[in-house]
């Protein structure tokens, strides 16, 4: 009766969830990496055990509330004896219950520790290092290399080779953020004044979405990033192309665009390697046209979206650090042509 | 109208006030002591936490000068003796002696405030220098707040004992105040160590 309602809700919720959990680009239940996989397994185990416990409690509640019992007036006061045998029996069951609870807790804790150790051990096998500095409200991503001139920066995007663990160094410049790519791993905070570290690895190709998971101010809701897992060869090729300086503008409109870019407010915040624009306040734009999305995952990349963003960033992401640039329509078109060519 | 209940005991003979744990105000005082002690403990924990975050401690300043802090320590420990005496004579409802004790404790209390002012001047840091300066000023300030409120309380009680409002409850107020002063002194001992000794040890 009363417990059927929640049971039904659980089923509905479960069914509703089921189809979504099979495919999700930002889902902890669609693991694409070793750690996310182990954590998901652990979660399903917990769910199974705890759902069984819950079902038991609900059944006991139903029985306790609705079991048939003897009718007749129940005397109160000192004439209302507590039957000693019942009390003793219930006490024995209580002890069993407490022991059972403890046993379940210990078991689940043991499994949790085991998974914890397993996913930590990945750190030793990292082959790549990426350094993320979180800022309000975007991700500055630096691919480190022992050879200094083979390091490069990008923004709001991580590409990694399938099967290769990547060490991610986590720093924050302003407030606390949290780096979370649920398909690959749990989250780790980026805290000003501290350096944290995590490791991610993708077991299969795919494009995943990460999102900042610690409230960081105004545009916390729009601080996502793209994580793309590709075969090793494709990754190496991408890396080489990212290392290269910006593609020189080939046609007149693009050249005009570059000129406009370098003589307006854009250079106050952005870097385009190979030109004089070298500010690191905002994202590096050297290869912007290769990115899946804009404005930290707020818009998919397209020339139209880029136009909308540059023309009025405050309309799309109010409060973001990018001001309205005040370019004329012609200037905007030429800058667009230039930026869209930065592959 | 209802019947009277069966009366099992007549309590007219019970006193209307009592010293120590028999009174509610003693427990109230204890409650506030626990609250303040927790606050001190947490501030001290914050001190150690911040110390653990920093390479050198103090980071760039010299530790507070010994003199005034140690004078304060000696003064406060010495004050325990007249405090205990006042507590004893208050238990005995000895008005004349209680008046003497309260005047003495008021004077000592005011003296500790004067010394505290000098301590602030001798800290060798400002609260806005760095985290060390901030926690040092807060620890000293937290204890100073207790000194101020306890001295205020003692002064009011002293005045009261010279008015027509002397009654048994006043004597229990005095004993509760003595308990609180014990706490203020006991809290100062570890704080003194924290502020004046620890920076010289690490």
């Amino acid at each position: 009766m009363r417990a059927r309602a929640p049971m039904a809700l659980l089923c509905i919720g479960g069914l509703a969830g089921c189809e979504r959990v099979r495919h999700g680009v930002q889902s902890a239940l669609d693991p694409a990496g070793h750690q996310a996989g182990r954590i998901a397994d652990l979660w399903w185990l917990f769910l199974a055990v705890l759902a069984a416990v819950y079902a038991l409690v609900l059944i006991l509640l139903l029985v306790a509330a609705f079991r048939p019992r003897r009718r007749g007036r129940v005397p109160v006061g000192s004439a209302f004896p507590q039957e000693a045998p019942t009390e003793r029996r219930l006490t024995r069951v209580l002890v069993a219950w407490a022991v059972g609870t403890t046993a379940i807790i210990l078991t689940l804790t043991g499994f949790s520790y085991a998974v914890d150790r397993d996913i930590l051990s990945l750190g030793h096998r990292a082959e790549l290092t990426v350094e993320i500095t979180a800022k309000q409200w975007w991700w500055q991503v630096k691919y480190d290399d022992p050879v200094p001139n083979r390091s490069f920066e990008t923004a709001n995007e991580i590409r990694l080779p399938v099967g290769v663990p990547v060490r991610v160094i986590l720093k924050a410049q302003d407030v606390i953020h949290s780096f979370w790519v649920p398909n690959l791993h749990g989250k780790t905070d980026l805290i000003p004044g501290r350096v944290n570290e995590t490791v991610i690895v993708a077991n299969r190709e795919g494009r995943f979405r990460g999102q900042c998971a610690e409230f960081c101010g105004f545009q916390h809701a729009n601080m996502a990033l793209d994580v793309v897992a590709v075969p090793r060869a494709e990754f190496d090729a991408w890396r080489e192309s990212q290392l290269a300086p910006a593609v020189a503008p080939s046609d007149e409109q693009s050249q005009e665009g570059q000129r406009v870019f370098l003589t307006s407010a854009c250079v106050m915040c952005h870097t385009i390697r190979g030109t004089t624009a070298a500010s690191r306040v905002g994202p590096d734009l050297t290869h912007i046209a290769t990115r899946p999305s804009l404005a930290a995952g707020t818009l998919p990349y397209s020339k139209g979206n880029l136009a909308g963003w540059i023309a009025d960033p405050q309309r799309i992401k109010p409060g973001s650090q990018m001001p309205v640039t005040g370019l004329s329509a012609d200037q905007l078109q030429s800058v667009l042509a230039y930026l869209d060519g930065l592959k | 109208m209802e019947r009277s209940p069966h009366f099992t005991a007549d309590l007219a003979h019970l006193p209307t006030s009592a010293h120590g744990p028999r009174s509610t105000t003693w427990w109230g005082t204890l409650g506030f002591i626990l609250i303040e002690a927790t606050a001190f403990a947490l501030a001290a924990a914050a001190y150690f936490y911040l110390m653990g975050q920093t390479e050198t401690w103090p980071p760039g300043q010299s530790p507070p000068d010994w003199l005034w802090g140690t004078v304060q320590l000696v003064l406060m420990l010495a004050s325990l003796w007249p405090n205990l005496w006042t507590d004893r004579v208050a238990h005995a409802d000895d008005l004349r002696r209680v008046r003497i004790g309260l005047v003495v404790m008021s004077a000592i209390g005011l003296l500790t405030l004067v010394v505290r002012a000098f301590e602030f001047g001798a800290l060798n840091c400002r609260w806005d220098d760095n985290a060390y300066g901030s926690i040092v000023w807060v620890l000293l300030g937290l204890h100073a707040t207790h000194l101020i409120t306890d001295v205020g309380d003692t002064l009011v009680l002293t005045v009261l004992m010279f008015t027509k409002h002397v009654e048994p409850r006043r004597f229990t107020d005095v004993t509760d105040n003595c308990v609180y002063w014990n706490f203020v002194v006991c809290a100062w001992v570890p704080l003194w160590a924290l502020l004046y000794v620890v920076p010289r040890l690490v």
């Binding site: 009363r2 417990a3 309602a5 969830g17 979504r20 999700g24 889902s27 239940l29 979660w43 705890l50 416990v53 409690v57 006991l60 509330a65 006061g77 507590q82 407490a98 609870t101 807790i105 804790t109 520790y113 998974v115 914890d116 309000q136 407030v175 749990g186 989250k187 805290i191 501290r194 944290n196 999102q211 610690e214 409230f215 545009q219 809701a221 | 109208m1 009277s4 069966h6 099992t8 007219a12 003979h13 019970l14 006193p15 209307t16 028999r22 009174s23 509610t24 427990w27 409650g31 609250i35 927790t38 606050a39 947490l42 911040l50 975050q53 609260w127 806005d128 760095n130 985290a131 009261l160």
Partner: protein
């Protein structure tokens, strides 16, 4: 016998005290004259009657509950679909902050305090709460803090950094203006009030119990409030210290949380959560007291496992202080430390589980009657247990690393807080409304209230478990389409509306029943605890005669009426202090008359606290009127004991 006691000197014929010599009607009349609060505005402002103060607290807390609930509806409307623009980011961020802050600081803790203030003195058989003027003072301070915060919010300078206000976002550099200062100072107001009430409750329970109410006969509700109050004493200082440090960082340039000058952002989290985790048990334990009070009455048998339940309360109280780092599992702390907190967080399930068993056993071995209070208790078990189980998931570091700061956590804490505290609270309202007002609430409306709550709540919050797992973080003012979050969010919004309908039914029920509800007698439910031994509502003096207690359910032990003690004064306010363990009569304690000084002192405190948001000098100058208020408060009013006038 002390020589100070004037009664020894005076002849017996001049003293009028209760007892066999004074008739019942005369005793009632004289006690009412002595204990009544004067009518009119002055009486209302100067009242020190714990029942009046308790009612104020309850009404005020429920007003804040409604306000915070409206904010929740606003959020749900905004999130019902992707990319909506009902609320701007700034307004949304203020709203979610105000929702959490209001619910936690202005509703949940105060309403539990409120029931303690009203019920604990009645349940232990005394005439007043300990330190009645402090009690009155605490209400005004609480009210001032809540009003200040909401005025700030209405003026668009409400806090917008979440109810736990992490730094550096809340610090001087990234949180300019006064928004966060209003939040931090509201915390100071409410913590002062809560600490005051905690001390009062502890002293009332330890010293003012009726004769014969030894420790093993204390009602479980009272045990719960005793443990809760002890937790308040040790937990609230942490948030006072941390919020004061935050105000100082913002106002006078200290560097507690500034990493550039040796401070640490995590210091805030440690200090806050050292308070924040016990806080949720401060909310939950009184609710277990509600359950333990209501179940025996509607299962019609004494509670099973009294000792186990008391031990479970203490175990929860202790363990609750050892869990706080589970809020910080993803901040990069050493792993070994995290493992300890996993174990502790799992371990607290054991006392909770024992409590659940004892309640189920009571129901099983009893003969249930399904009145509204019992419905809410059953709802509590269904919902709270689910929340507790999701808590076990969160205790695991790997699982937490995925679902921390997502809607999974939002689902978890609403299940444990609404299931574990709000459902028992509504059960408590239906149960004790007759005692507070003398009228019964409608059972029919109560059943609708319960059903709408139950269905609405589960529909609103169950989908959030899934939303968190499929990637939806907390505290986002909107979300993009295409991530599979749309339908579940819409479902949650529908559930919220149903829940709101339940609230409306409740309000209607209260409104109607105050006027037209069935008149309740002293003990309409046939309960066993002492508050039901006096009239509904109780007279100003609570008990015309201090009862003698012979068992855990005094009214069930003595169906022919309770014995009493005599000898207390009827012409001056007097109550009985007993010994801590065995509750043997010990001292006749005078109780304060109504006084305006608590209100005046509270006004002084308000000026000091609000002033110090704007300038540190407010602390200095503001302490002068405060000192005046406090001295006025404690200055004795009347000359010392004179022989009582002869009254024939």
């Amino acid at each position: 016998m002390s020589a100070r006691d004037t009664s020894a000197r005076d002849s017996a014929r001049f003293i009028r005290r209760d007892g066999p010599a004074l008739g019942e009607a005369e005793t009632h009349a004289r006690l009412e004259r002595t204990w009544a609060t004067p009518p009119g505005l002055w009486g209302w402002l100067s009242s020190v009657d714990h029942k009046q103060v308790g009612r104020r607290y309850i009404v005020t807390a429920f007003v804040f509950f409604l306000l915070a609930g409206l904010l929740a509806l606003a959020m749900r409307m905004q999130l019902a679909g992707p990319n909506q623009t009902l609320l701007t980011p700034d307004r949304y961020n203020q709203i979610f902050t105000m929702h959490g802050t209001t619910m936690m600081f202005l509703f949940a803790v105060p309403v539990m305090e409120a029931f303690a203030i009203y019920l604990v003195p009645l349940m232990v058989g005394t005439r007043a709460i300990a330190f009645p003027r402090l009690n009155a003072f605490s209400y005004w301070v609480y009210l001032a803090g809540g009003v200040m915060l909401w005025v700030a919010f209405i003026l668009n300078v409400g806090p917008d950094v979440g109810w736990f206000s992490y730094v550096p976002l809340a610090g001087p550099q990234f949180g300019p203006g006064k928004r966060t200062d209003f939040w931090a100072q509201m915390v100071t107001f409410t913590e002062v009030a809560a600490l005051a009430v905690a001390v009062e409750i502890i002293v009332t329970v330890l010293k003012q119990r009726a004769p014969g109410m030894s420790l093993n006969r204390i009602p479980l509700f009272v045990w719960g409030q005793l443990v809760t109050s002890s937790m308040v004493v040790f937990a609230m200082p942490a948030v006072m210290v941390s919020s004061s440090m935050l105000i100082m960082d913002r106002l006078i340039g200290t560097h507690f949380f500034n990493p550039a000058e040796g401070g640490d952002a995590l210091l805030w989290q440690h200090l806050f959560w050292f308070f924040g985790h016990p806080e949720v048990y401060i909310i939950f334990l009184p609710a277990t007291g509600f359950v333990s009070s209501i179940l025996p009455v509607f299962a019609r048998r004494p509670i099973f496992g009294y000792t186990a339940l008391v031990l479970a309360l203490f175990a929860t109280g202790f363990l609750g202080f050892g869990l706080w780092v589970h809020h910080m599992f993803v901040t990069g702390l050493p792993h070994l430390g995290n493992s300890f907190y996993t174990a502790a967080s799992m371990a607290i399930a054991i006392p909770s589980g024992i409590q659940i068993f004892c309640w189920l056993a009571t129901l099983w071995d009893g003969r249930p009657r399904f009145a509204t209070p019992l419905l809410f208790i059953i709802g509590f078990i269904v919902i709270f247990v689910l929340g507790g189980l999701s808590g076990i998931m969160l205790a695991s570091v790997p699982i937490d690393s995925q679902v921390h700061d997502t809607y999974f956590v939002v689902a978890h804490f609403h299940y444990v807080l609404i299931g574990g505290a709000v459902f028992p609270l509504f059960g408590a309202v239906y149960y004790w409304f007759p005692k507070f007002t003398g009228r019964m609430l409608s059972e029919r409306a109560g059943a609708w209230n319960f059903a709408l709550f139950f269905v609405g709540f589960n529909l609103a919050f169950f989908p959030m478990h899934i939303l968190g797992l499929i990637g939806m973080p907390r505290r986002i003012y909107s979300y993009p389409a295409g991530l599979g979050w749309d339908d579940l969010n819409l479902l949650a919004t529908a559930g919220a509306l149903i829940l709101a309908a339940g609230v409306l039914v409740f309000l209607g029920n209260v409104w109607h029943s105050l006027k037209y509800g069935l008149v309740a007698g002293d003990n309409p439910w046939g309960a066993g605890t002492l508050e039901w031994a006096t009239s509904s509502p109780p007279p100003s003096v609570n008990f015309v005669h201090i009862p003698v207690v012979t068992g855990r359910e005094p009214l069930w032990e003595e169906p022919n009426g309770l014995a009493a003690v005599s000898g207390l004064r009827v012409d001056q306010r007097e109550l009985l202090l007993t010994t801590v363990v065995d509750a043997e009569p010990d001292v006749r304690e005078p109780s304060p008359m109504p006084s305006i000084w608590p209100l005046l002192s509270a006004i002084a405190v308000t000026v000091l606290f609000i002033g110090s948001i704007f300038t540190p000098w407010a602390v200095v100058w503001g302490s002068i009127p405060l000192a005046v208020g406090l001295i006025g408060w404690f200055w004795p009013k009347s000359p010392p004991d004179t022989p009582e006038p002869v009254v024939e």
